[in-house]
């Protein structure tokens, strides 16, 4: 039962990721597509963070093991567990994926802005943001250019 519950985390994040992928492929609206991509990106970030969690751990900021916060945390845990997996008497969660995802989030919004800027310019050129109408206009334009030359 604990096995199912613990792996349910990963399954839920994968479901969110696939929903984002579905949004990207099923819609023809450019802005909705960017939103789907943003959902996909943040879900990937959440997957990384869920890999980094340590049971009974706290945030990766070194605190003294004799302080009140560390003592309150250690009360809830098995002393052998703290001795084996803790660093200087306190159990921390793994900080490395946090570093990767922190910058990825800010880069994600910057690239979202670039994608939306392209969508805005497309709207000004084609008067629409639905990709099948854009493709139809392109085909009509290519046919005219082909018949004219």
């Amino acid at each position: 039962m604990t096995w199912v519950l613990s792996h349910l985390n990963y399954v839920a994040v994968i479901v969110v990721m696939m929903t984002g992928l579905f949004i990207v492929f099923s819609t023809s609206n450019l802005i909705k597509r960017m939103i789907g991509l943003a959902v996909f990106q943040t879900a990937t970030g959440l997957f990384f963070i869920s890999l980094a969690k340590v049971s009974g751990g706290t945030a990766a900021i070194r605190i003294g093991a004799d302080g009140p916060a560390a003592k309150a945390l250690a009360q809830q845990l098995d002393p052998d567990y703290v001795a084996q997996h803790g660093v200087d008497g306190v159990v921390y969660s793994n900080p490395l994926p946090h570093v990767l995802i922190l910058t990825a989030i800010v880069v994600g919004v910057a690239t979202l802005a670039v994608g939306l800027a392209i969508a805005v310019r497309i709207r000004e050129s084609y008067a629409t943001i639905e990709s099948d109408e854009i493709a139809a206009q392109d085909r009509a334009g290519a046919r005219e250019a082909g018949s004219a030359s």
Binding site: L8, I23, V39, T42, A52, K53, A59, I61, N94
Partner: protein, 351 residues
């Protein structure tokens, strides 16, 4: 073995369930405004989940970026592209649904072989991560291991990310125009409608800016750092523009100056790396940031008790400053580009 922590697991699963429902709602709705607002709610629920996963730095960033700047940029794009809703399309859903289910199935099959959630001896948590936890504070003098890893151990990665953010800002400015002339003030009738917002903004903007600097300078001892502080500072500027009009904000912070600050941030970051080379170390090797004779003359009271890592301290401080400049200036540039184009579109310059 661990009593009382199953409640944590239950809370996380409930929040993940909410995320699944939100993602489904974003897929289902056809109105773009609803999708944008749901995206903001999705970011907020992710923030709470991230706090439960012991990732306060990431939660910080997700809250400010996801619920703040991302929503503003999406609304700006919706305004410019005049997008309201997407079209019908039943037949389009079959192939993407099959693709999503197929890829999802493969991923779930792979995920079943992952270590248990929260396992401290998993390969991800036991080797490099643990080494960072053990050595980071003694090597860099920073209590926040995430900042130590981001700024010192993985400083080269962070330089790349900062450069990507700068490039994205330049890209949006190239696409949407380098709004040089400020578009003018709000009309008089609009001003009296916005009195409450303007008074509240006047109260809040200095507090937000102060908070941004607090987060910046406390990045080594508490959750924080350059990325979060940069976005918070940009949000203060955007609040000013929303309450008082883009023209007023551009008088205070011209668009050219903001772009220059973004470039200056990357220059400061890479420049610190070059200074390290000039002093005999590697690129971004903070132990060689200052020549030995100057380092010996630093008075002990300047570093604070117990901090004897002058090079690391100066290096982390300097690059966080560079990151603050670039991130804040890029977010403001994004807002200026979208809002400036909207202003010129409304006045009938573009179709």
């Amino acid at each position: 073995m661990i009593a009382g922590l199953d409640l944590n697991l239950a809370m996380e699963l409930v929040l993940l369930g909410m995320l699944v429902v939100l993602a489904g709602a974003i897929a289902y709705t056809r109105k773009l405004l609803a999708a944008v607002v749901l995206m903001g709610v999705y970011s907020l629920v992710s923030t709470v989940w991230l706090v439960l996963m012991d990732a306060p730095d990431v939660a910080f960033t997700e809250a400010v970026v996801g619920a703040g700047v991302s929503t503003i940029v999406l609304l700006g794009a919706m305004l410019l592209a005049r997008g309201e809703s997407e079209k019908h399309g039943q037949a389009r859903m079959i192939a993407p649904a099959l693709l999503a289910v197929g890829v999802g199935g493969v991923l779930v099959y792979a995920a079943l072989g992952l270590p248990d959630f929260g396992n401290p001896s998993s390969p991800a948590n036991a080797y490099v991560g643990r080494a960072y936890l053990e050595q980071a504070t003694s090597h860099t003098g920073a209590a926040n291991v995430v900042t130590a890893v981001l700024a010192s151990y993985r400083g080269f990665d962070t330089l790349g990310e900062t450069a990507v953010i700068f490039a994205a800002g330049v890209g949006v400015a190239l696409l949407l125009g380098f709004v040089e002339r400020s578009p003018g003030r709000l009309s008089a009738s609009a001003e009296e409608h916005h009195v409450v917002l303007r008074v509240t903004a006047k109260l809040l903007i200095p507090v937000i800016a102060l908070y941004a600097f607090y987060v910046q300078f406390h990045g080594e001892i508490s959750p924080g750092g350059g990325f979060q502080a940069g976005v918070i500072l940009a949000v203060a500027v955007i609040l000013h523009a929303l309450a008082f009009g883009l023209g007023e904000t551009m008088k205070a912070l011209p668009a050219g100056l903001v772009r220059g600050c973004a470039a200056l941030g990357v220059l400061v970051y890479a420049g610190l790396g070059v200074v390290s080379i000039a002093n005999g170390g590697g690129f971004l090797d903070y132990d060689h940031l200052l020549p030995r004779d100057i380092e010996a003359q630093i008075p002990a009271w300047l570093l604070g008790p117990g901090n004897h890592h002058w090079g690391q301290f100066a290096g982390i401080f300097g690059i966080e400053l560079g990151v603050l400049l670039t991130v804040a200036a890029t977010m403001v540039t994004l807002f200026y580009s979208f809002a400036g184009r909207a202003a010129s579109t409304v006045r009938g310059v573009r179709r």
